[in-house]
Symmetry: C2
Amino acid sequence: MKKTILLFSALLAFGGLSAQDKSSLVNPIIGTNGMGHTFPGACVPFGLVQLSPDTDTIPHNIDGKYQPRVYEYCAGYQHKDSSIVGFSHTHFSGTGHSDLGDILIMPTTGALKLNPGTATNPDGGYRSRFSHETEISRPGYYEVMLADYGVKAQLTTTKRVGVHKYTFPKEAKNQRIVLDMIHGIYNYDGKVLWTNIRVENDTLVTGYRITNGWARTNYTYFAMSFSKPVIHYGCEEKAKVDYRGGYGKFNMKENFPDIGGRKIVAYFDFDPAASEELEVKVALSGVSAAGALKNLQAEASGYSFDQLAARANETWNKELSVIEANGSEDQLAMLYTSLYHTMINPCVYTDVDGQYRGLDHNIHQADGFTNYTVFSVWDTYRALHPLFNIINRQVNTDIARSMLKHCEQSVHKALPVWSHMANENWCMIGYHSVSVLADAVAKGLPLDKDEVLKAMVSSSTIPYLDGTGEYMQKGYVALDHNGSAASLTLEYAYDDWTIYHTALLAGNREVAETYKKRATNYANVFDTGIGYARPRYADGRWKENFNLLSTHGEGFIEGNALNYSFYVPQDVDNMIRLMGGDKSFVSKLDSLFTMHLPAEFFADTEDVTEEGLLGGYVHGNEPSHHIPFLYVWTSQPWKTQYWQREIMNKMYRNNIDGLCGNDDCGQMSAWYILSAMGFYPVCPGTDQYVLGAPFLPYMKVTLENGKTFEVRADKVSDRNRYVKSVKLNGKPYTKGYITQQDIMDGGTLTFEMTSSPNKKRIFMGTDKPYSQSTN
Amino acid sequence: MKKTILLFSALLAFGGLSAQDKSSLVNPIIGTNGMGHTFPGACVPFGLVQLSPDTDTIPHNIDGKYQPRVYEYCAGYQHKDSSIVGFSHTHFSGTGHSDLGDILIMPTTGALKLNPGTATNPDGGYRSRFSHETEISRPGYYEVMLADYGVKAQLTTTKRVGVHKYTFPKEAKNQRIVLDMIHGIYNYDGKVLWTNIRVENDTLVTGYRITNGWARTNYTYFAMSFSKPVIHYGCEEKAKVDYRGGYGKFNMKENFPDIGGRKIVAYFDFDPAASEELEVKVALSGVSAAGALKNLQAEASGYSFDQLAARANETWNKELSVIEANGSEDQLAMLYTSLYHTMINPCVYTDVDGQYRGLDHNIHQADGFTNYTVFSVWDTYRALHPLFNIINRQVNTDIARSMLKHCEQSVHKALPVWSHMANENWCMIGYHSVSVLADAVAKGLPLDKDEVLKAMVSSSTIPYLDGTGEYMQKGYVALDHNGSAASLTLEYAYDDWTIYHTALLAGNREVAETYKKRATNYANVFDTGIGYARPRYADGRWKENFNLLSTHGEGFIEGNALNYSFYVPQDVDNMIRLMGGDKSFVSKLDSLFTMHLPAEFFADTEDVTEEGLLGGYVHGNEPSHHIPFLYVWTSQPWKTQYWQREIMNKMYRNNIDGLCGNDDCGQMSAWYILSAMGFYPVCPGTDQYVLGAPFLPYMKVTLENGKTFEVRADKVSDRNRYVKSVKLNGKPYTKGYITQQDIMDGGTLTFEMTSSPNKKRIFMGTDKPYSQSTN
């Protein structure tokens, strides 16, 4: 009874958004132009399939020359483009590197065209012009009118099946589906190693392709069904295959059901007299074509497009309803789109029967968990997984187990660095999966602590991995041996702290002792003389001609010394000491947010639009995401409150280029959601969320344990951005952080907001968030 | 008791070859030079692994130009060569097309060389010179001294594991194994689609490669263990891979355990101080690296090379002991080598746990059977499978079931034509698996007749398959549409007869009726005007400018009209009529065997050495294999006896070029064994073996039912080559054939031999072998 009343009164009190309406608040177009690298197409939460229009197919390499424009097309789509190549079934969400774009389908009419054409000459190929006015993009649904053919395209998905509905014009003399097995994101001349297509019968096609893209060896199997029979089909091979059985025995280009080759584009013709509509279901599997067929049958067979689209919408509404909120239209669009973006990657990589391709390329049976893939760990350990530990604990448990399996299947016995589709691509640095696991353990996910610790230790002791050997020996990675030496040392030290902390929880003193020490290695790359982090050479000397502002050549990666120097999340107190004490530290923070970064240095700041900068602070990339919250350890915590809101207003906007940098599989979005609630996990692995200020007057999280956690800040506004006082469940709350337990217990965190800072609200002793050296 | 006495007396009576000695009679070197295409390496009966030295690596294609010399290297070895590239694990036995040569290993010392070098400059690469004097080749064992390194190489195998023992010279400063993942037979620049190698630990390496060779997409997984630890390893990539995770993070060329790429050659170094010997075990699987590891563990782990070599020898002795025989040293060498050659292909293609890769590239579980592959059906339906129905019924049952599964997994629902390693390569013509199945059904193998019939019908009604549509419509394939039109029509008609016959046995009258009629289609390509088979055009006219002697451009394939005209095994009586009646037919047969074939026509006779011709009769290729036995239907059966012995003496010799044409996976050998027993299955699918004359004074087959079937011909010799009379189990026998039942019942077939033909012994009425038109 009580629960019902609470829900009802909440509805009344806060704008009456029913559970059914959340998905309508999402604007998937946010971030589809520029650096956001999000896609507008259809998917369901954590689904393997992201079915989305690709607007261009820039190869990343032509005749051995890198094509920088490939970077724009990490998600296959740029809003500025005016033609659609087709709809492919796999897309990263917001990544800083590209791949996928597997199994492209395009409906066409008229003359047979089996090449995609170009943006400048769309008529030269099967692609079509389109207008954004005909585009509808909402969670689980995408619609567009393909102008060149007059075909209305509607897309939806289940977890493992992309579902297409094409309405051809009445007057069309033919209806055709092009299946381009060459198309891909991060494409180049040799990306497709092999393709097979089997026309099993006149409404079912199976097949696979193996690619050598960013994923070194990616196996994408599919099973594709049509709502009406194929009346004619064929293919073109755009690369010579040296031997093909059956030369002279068959016409292998038309109506021959066993197609194989390096570069295959196939097409399927349907009877226009039968109906104007054609539905196509494409199930994927990383295991086998048989697995894809099972996925098709289990998830999509027997349901119409409309039924499946309705189900996708329901699923999103249910998942998005984990958060209730009040705010302006733009604020809610930003919040729910952020929430939406946190539930795309990672994604399931298990067939419905539990089989999956492991990192060892063997087929495994997932026992008691769902295997996940797409781990952009250097990004997502910061806020996405901590957010999951609040709102998606079951998913994060499965992710943690998938990471442990990855480690078990790794020949290095290494947890994921950046991995997708049974491949490790080693992108970016650190062994941050240890942080994901440490946070999961600290926050009570049901994992075997000893198994976790074993994987952590093995992942952090691989001597040949990116300077780890030298790091273990010397306590730092030397710049003469590794261009990212200082970043590596800082991040390894943090990672090591998470291992130390997990070892404590697992009761393993020996490991704890080792990693406690390793966790202090950050100090080895702090030059107290200049008060900033600075790389050393192997002989111990500091880097010469050191530039704090440059992102390149200074021993850091995807960040300059100015930002990276704040990267000691496990020991902020000592970092403050190393940077000259409270006053100097605050002044350095202030200067970071307010300085003018000369254009020459912005130019080489990666992955970031100009809006992604606030002074010298870089929000469009990850290493600095915790920085605004570091004021909480200082004498001026209110500055966190100030800068948080600056960042949220400036860098998250409800429009096509509303993301100031790559969303990075939900990390940017998770930052927004947590920050909007008024807290942030500066040091994942602790159970603490450091308090800033909330962004919205009301937010409520429904926890998986059935409890709810509310954040109220009635008077919050751009003006009233400062926290006067805080109450937890009605009682005055004086700490600079809340704990996971506070959240899991349910309750209400109430912020009294004002227009001027409460300079008395500073945090000392146990009210101050965690720091290794003072705990 | 009786059995023991018989065995004992047999040993006493016939030269005392004990069961242990059979393998010593085998000379695997027979056929390793020239056209035989056999290999000298080690294997066990029907094993997946054929571990053998490759002496050259001629690519079949350089810059798009076909290299005719590739044909010599179907088995990777030519006896005339003087250097060995290394030892690879898969080889066809005697085929007329090449492929495989997977996973090459070569032991070396000295400077690191990671290319194979060339025959003319062996020092330019890792290959080594060798002398045949140091070669030992016997069933299940191969040995050679690699002269350039002073390394003694010894090879043996289990069914799924190649086992190497290398003895390095005492003074060698290093011991190295090269693992060349580029090497292959039927190689070309793009054959290897992808390679992965994982160094799991210092004594275990796993991996796989995917190739696009003759098998369109062949997956070869391996697990390789070393008897002592690797102390250093590395690899070279001979093709650029566009993205490789970890650039700059690791040295991926040395001691990096996760190797992947298009063209990889790896090496492994071992401590010479530890011992001079190194044993390497390489298990294969078509399923996965995990499957290969299971195979390794189940078949070879825990056993030394010497133990496994002894076991291989025992296995061969047991299998070869199915036949006891008396004869000269050369005759027995030829007989047992032939028997040996019948037990190499087909081979198992199932992991020890029953998993196998199916034709659909899905992984299947073999339920109640062992899956086999390498089906050179156009060759082997003639005599190999009929022989198996006597001596290897369990294997042939598994083969039949594998063929049925192939059909089920085929997108065409077609039985194998020429298939290997989960691929159909469509080589040569006909749907002769129906004959294999018909013969199996007729001879009582435990198969489901309805399932068999269904597969037969679907395989013979695929309209787009090699003229089948036209054949079904018109009763013949027209020369204007297919260059092999006449051969196709003849062979389809025979195949159809086998379906008719199976339908009768299955009690399916409707199918029987259809195929009874189709089985007479051969008559549509017989020009009674000239008394020979002759292709027709689509409008019914006969081919113009028709040449009986040419193998090319006359509507036949791998045979000329002169030979192919005798190809109506299902209706010899009517064929005799079509060719002008008994007198004319005998004269045409006589002329075939005695004529002079002008050099210009020999030159274009494929796959045959000059010794493979007897007049115009071509024994070195298959279409004529039954021809010598056709005299049995005529007034002059003794001529079969004459020509049989001519062929056996001339075309099977105990030396390196002792085979007059490709052994074709045992077909040439099976012909020899059956012919040596005095009979031959002219029309597989009947239960009859047509009687000629035996070659040896004594042969005994031990049947799987425990009975024995003996053939005695005490006085047989080149002079006494004619049959005076025959007794079966002591009673006078007047038929021109014996039946499968006669053999299965056990007993003794006794031939009284003379030096001149018994011209009264002719066969009329029911004594004459089967003919459709007179039955």
